[in-house]
Point group: C2
Chain length 197, copies 2
């Protein structure tokens, strides 16, 4: 997605250790037109699939998620993230480890919002090791629903998330795929493959 690629190049800030900061348009300040285009692009890529709900995780997944849900004309659910939890019978809970923050969170979704047979598109802002996406997928499957696919705004393709998700049988669509952040330079997978000048 060229618009997104340009935005990443222009406004993305490479911090040490493989961290890309995009807080001017995705993680803190958000560009609503870009978010709408992201929603349209996911809808285009998953056209032909019957999708009944979009599932994302707070907080940065909500804006791309709601725009995708608007285009697909289905509800959005956002999973909540918390450090620890009093369990109740009404919620699905999965543990998700964040390599960036070096902590385990529990992510939760109310049982009443995913019915058996539901066909769910998972949307998230970043894909690195795939922990959050796997956690969301396990919640959908616990509920007796199926994961139609996983839509990612920015993939760090030098980390194993995409490969692991595909090996587990999930369809992954990433709008931009970053091959490397080495030496403070952002390069994309397509460039490395020689598809772009």
């Amino acid at each position: 997605m060229e618009l997104l690629r340009q935005k990443v190049l222009k406004e993305g800030i490479v911090l040490g250790q493989g961290v890309l900061k995009v807080d001017s348009f995705l993680n803190h300040q958000m560009d609503p037109f870009l978010m709408r285009e992201v929603g349209r692009e996911f809808t285009r890529r998953f056209s032909g699939e019957e999708i009944t709900k979009v599932l994302t995780i707070e907080s940065s997944g909500i804006a791309p998620g709601i725009m995708t849900a608007l285009e697909l004309e289905v509800p959005l659910i956002f999973a909540r993230k918390q450090k620890s939890l009093t369990l109740t019978e009404d919620i699905y809970v999965e543990k998700v480890y964040s390599f960036t923050k070096k902590e385990t969170n529990e992510i939760t979704v109310s049982k009443k919002f995913i019915a058996p047979g539901e066909r769910v598109l998972i949307v998230d802002d970043f894909l690195a090791n795939g922990e959050a996406a796997f956690g969301l997928a396990r919640i959908v499957e616990q509920a007796g629903g199926s994961v139609v696919g996983i839509g990612i705004v920015i993939e760090k393709a030098f980390q194993p998330g995409n490969r692991l998700l595909q090996e587990a049988g999930y369809r992954v669509e990433s709008l931009v795929r970053i091959a490397s952040l080495e030496d403070g330079r952002i390069s994309f997978v397509e460039e490395e493959e020689g598809l772009l000048s």
Copy 2:
């Protein structure tokens, strides 16, 4: 806003102690069409105001916030909420007490996203005691910006937030105003005033 009022009546669940649960369309599952209408209604109510940014707070403010920002054609910023924080020079921090959760959070916004002179519309999902709205307003003012107004999706008018904000000089626009949740029944301010049958 009639659409929203109907949704609150149909799907809102009154819990004890003045708590209204609207997690089927606003706080956990979200209705994207309703969120778009909320964004359009805030834009209509604040038309004529020059607005340069929308500011909200994670997580439930993000969906109404991004739809408002889309209609207004300006960026959205969402403040982050955390229990405690390593201070840095790059962020504005305000303490916000949550009466519902009985805890104090620190809310933060990066300094680089609010410039002096910025004209900011604050949007949030709920207004009760006004703590979050005051915290967001103080951040805008610390930055040398001005608060054009405060747009609230659901106001609990039996709590003092609206009055306190207006006394402090802020314009508040609430899309629905709940007069009472007593005996498990949702009644609206307009009903009590005899404006509706």
